[in-house]
Point group: C2
Chain length 185, copies 2
């Protein structure tokens, strides 16, 4: 099952990478955003699928408009905050979101697919890790995947090519400084 992402099975430079940005520090989604713009600058089609509403903000949405036609941006589960009182409904929303992501990956249209905050689907037992790993293993040749979110599971890490843990050393909220326009949103 892990064959498709094992180093030996990959033609270096062609298979596409799976990258994970995890940890409790700032920079996970922002790094993914940076990669999106890097790829768009090459003229590559990019899909961003956001599993938790609100982690992408006004600034990048405006910037993204410069790349209409190349960038597909999807916010999954309207108002999906993981705080519903209805667990069955939450699971259904998460699974529908994952199904859309799976179809996007396997369709193979994009050079880069960003699964923003995907890790939570596994953490909260909304979607089976094995189901997600199977799709990662089947991703089309040449496609890069970027997965962000805290507490990436051991299976995700094992299947990734690159994993960076963003560790919070210092955060301004702890000093009582409010979120800043252009930085936090």
């Amino acid at each position: 099952m892990t064959g498709a992402t094992a180093p030996g099975a990959k033609a270096p430079g062609t298979a596409g990478l799976t990258l994970i940005f995890t940890g409790n520090g700032k920079g996970k989604t922002t790094s993914a955003l940076g990669l999106a713009f890097r790829a768009l600058g090459h003229g590559f089609p990019v899909a961003i699928i956001q599993f938790i509403k609100g982690s992408w903000k006004y600034g990048e949405l405006e910037a993204a408009k410069s790349f209409a036609g190349l960038l597909d941006f999807h916010v999954m589960g309207k108002g999906f905050t993981w705080k519903s009182d209805n667990l069955d409904e939450d699971i259904k929303t998460a699974q529908d979101a994952w199904k859309f992501a799976k179809e996007t990956i396997l369709a193979g249209h994009h050079k880069l697919v960003i699964l923003d905050e995907l890790t939570y689907l596994i953490t909260y037992n909304m979607v089976e890790e094995s189901e997600i790993l199977a799709v990662i293993a089947r991703k089309p040749q040449g496609m890069h995947l970027v997965i962000t979110g805290r507490n990436a599971s051991a299976g995700l890490i094992a299947h990734a090519d690159l994993v960076t843990e963003m560790q919070e050393i210092k955060h301004p909220y702890k000093k009582g400084i409010k979120a800043q326009k252009g930085i936090e949103f």
Copy 2:
């Protein structure tokens, strides 16, 4: 000397933040790039000053062209690789680069100034840490600074509002996979 960046001296939400992305993992410059696009999306003027040639790549340079007029991009020290045989020349190049950065910050034209790989100037004793900290403390009201690079010095960390350490957990180069277009450049 540290008064201007001490929490008590700041009017929350107006003073602007100093952010540091450090550590040995991928995502430092990419996060800064993401913040640049976020700010550009707001229509804020942004300056990127690159202290080591090559850390910003073709993809983002192309993407940046969409924001001509708002984004000032400066590559300091042509061919400045930190590997010259002439130490005096290296120091001169680094100090000239820093002087330009200082003038850009104090001019106050930009809402966000990114000092990419600045940490090396301190690490290699090219520019005094105290000189850099003094400029950070004097940055104009409302300007955000982002500093990237490995081994951020203790003084830089003490003066920053937000510090994230990007820790490498896994890197594809170690598996013999080549740099990937649209991801690494």
